[in-house]
Symmetry: C4
Subunit: 252 residues, 4 copies
């Protein structure tokens, strides 16, 4: 049993491909954005990645059939450049595992001729965010310049804690292997999954990729989450009004 | 010292064997069910599995003699198909260990000619359960159909968090190696060991295996646990009645 | 860098040696007993064991000189049989590390001709213990019988959670390699280091080894700990008396 | 992918070099001291160390370009002896990783001809410290004597918990490979980064290295931290005065 196993359905021939990573993370922003883009561009799954560094679990799919926790590769044909998507159920469960899996992702990227990686994620502000902005980080000054041209904000000192997991390592390790990269982080509260933040990330990514996307489904999801959040806020306010000050101290 | 060591007492010759896994887990449901079935079918122990992925402990047996924490294999002769049981003291203590041990279990299953695996476990509802149902998950649609025929419930979105540990991985990894599998999960509170839930799981398993079982001992154990749970509930109610509302805030 | 390194000062020639393990654990009972016995028998250090499974620390000795966290081997000459002592600063920091280190200890025991292992430890009762008893566990029925002859108690179901760490694994893994073993566990509260419990363990061990020991220093240490514990108890009682019932709820 | 990778910019030729370690730790004392000294002596970076034992993160630098979490080597030319500096973003995330990385650091030190290591760190007192002292620990009595001559305090029993991480292991493992070492620990509260403690450490180090240093920037940083700490203290005092005794119980 290898530490990381890649099972190809069919290895595609791709034209100067771009890799887009949307593994689960903060607010599930990266995953939601990547998933929506795969859907919009008619992406096809071409490989599954298994690893003992992933959680030791199976997922039960509709109908009751299980599948092992995995990461997955999709591709979509573009006008100038093709696109590879890396999404999945989870990231590795240890730092060492994160390094090993990212290293394998880059072997694979090299093999498929990837020259550019976009990693997608959320940036937790730990407060409600009305208008999420998209913060960036890149592998080089020229990629920073590219990001700025498409509306990405680069703010000194943010994110102060660096970028954790595959979204960060793909850039850091990729750079050492000659692959450029740009990380797009949508601001998000960190309390809910955040389709609104995902939409903002995707609008910039669409501009970078020169593709047209219909956002209506993401917008519908964003509305659902907002309604849910509003209900929670109402309940909290009601609890505040009906509680004596004495009780309040124990909330939180 | 190997990572996983299998020590055979005697390698049995088995007829188209089924593997039944009942390692410790939620409510100890799977273990109780498997242990009772071994007892009822006169199962014989034929191998012990040691691993540094298991907890670094010894168990003290009646009489004061110790033995290393282990997993164990039993077999029982059936009419049409023989049965192998995998039970034990504990599961691996890390995700990587879970993957490695399950992989070894499947090597062993392959070697013994296993074509079908039943994994047994509990499904925690985090509330008291009067009539536990048996929820299923399977390696393929045809096994789902088989389960349904014997009364297993397949409910979309349950268990939402997937299936953790050997009960899940044996199906997920087994499927990739051509072994079909069915996981039977008895609903349980998650607060106590649950012989009642184990009985429900076992009734379905007996139907699948076409064996007759006497459930009286499991029923006796279930009664004991229910009496104990009732006492705890009485004590909690008493505490509530005799506490001032002021005190109550600090419970929990 | 090997996972476990044994550095010999001088490999001793030993007569049918017994290995005594007293690594740190509950109430430091095993360590205190072993340390006192080394002192009483004039034990000589003959090897140091380093491992990356031990905590990544150095100890600062009197005078300000550091030494790596380690395990140590001492020997003492006996009338009929010589004695090897295994003591040290710490046990391995992971289950896998515990298995690997114990395996190395047994390689070493085999090499030095060890046929019997005594492991020493504490058994936490989580309440104050006036007269600690010595509970045993052994590698075989004949060793149980030997222990009983010297006053060791073997109580069915105790310790219910098994025996953790080197004291357990040396017996469990040793048994598989043909070395007999007896674990002596002194009852202890688990709140303090417990020289009194160590003394009880040592009295039985002295009987087993047929050696005469002066216990006065252990008794002095035990008195110091008892005085300290009594002061703590007084302070708690005082706090109870001078607190309003309202305050009391927040203690603990 | 190796466990630890050293990437040289240019391997320097050094005269009887001393290694100074200032990796992040308690109060960031060691890092602040080492960073200031590199700055004062015009240190030049000559190698970067990557490892999967480090946190799986990238750092976002000013301008938005990322770099992998790493450790770094600098050198500065001295009159009699040259100096190598080991600083970085983080230490290894597991004990095993700490051992492996320190072992590589020592390979490197050996290769560059290092005969002496100074490790810098903080010693947490868990209370505010007005006049931090510098406590020492060393690889041998002669190095203890050297430290004393330059004002380092060696206090029996301190630090009681030993020295954790690279500052300790470099001495403990270095000693076994024939490299002497001295650890300088500045007393610090453990609540804040502590440039004042770093200054005290650096004054002794400067004396040991026979170099002249301008401390004004460290002093400025120390003032900033003191002002910040004073504000926090004021806020806490204000909260105390304006709270009813009833509220106070819930603070802390």
């Amino acid at each position: 049993m290898e530490n990381v196993t890649i099972k190809y359905i069919k290895k595609p021939k791709l034209k100067d491909p771009i890799l887009i990573e949307g593994l689960p993370g903060i607010g599930n922003v990266g995953y939601l954005a990547a998933e929506h883009l795969i859907d919009q561009l008619g992406g096809k799954k071409f490989a599954t990645i298994y690893s003992k560094h992933l959680p030791s679990q199976v997922i039960v799919e509709r109908g009751g059939v299980v599948r092992l926790v995995s990461n997955e590769l999709y591709y979509a044909k573009g006008k100038k450049r093709d696109i590879i998507f890396l999404i999945g159920d989870a990231q590795a469960s240890s730092p060492e595992g994160q390094y090993e899996m990212t290293d394998k992702f880059l072997d694979l990227a090299k093999e498929l001729g990837v020259g550019m990686i976009y990693t997608l994620g959320g940036y937790a502000l730990n407060k409600m965010v009305d208008e999420p902005r998209v913060i960036g980080a890149a592998s080089s000054d020229s990629v920073v310049a590219l990001g700025k041209k498409h509306g990405v904000l680069f703010i000194d000192g943010e994110p102060g804690a660096g970028i954790w997991g595959a979204s960060g390592l793909l850039l850091g390790l990729g750079r050492r292997r000659g692959i450029e990269g740009l990380c797009l982080m949508g601001e998000t509260s960190g309390y809910f999954v955040d389709p609104k933040s995902a939409e903002k990330v995707l609008r910039i990514l669409a501009s970078l990729l020169e593709v047209e996307i219909d956002y209506s489904e993401l917008e519908k999801k964003a509305e659902e989450v907002e309604n849910f959040a509003a209900k929670i806020a109402d309940m909290a306010e009601f609890a505040t009004k009906t509680s004596s000050p004495d009780d309040l101290r124990y909330i939180g």
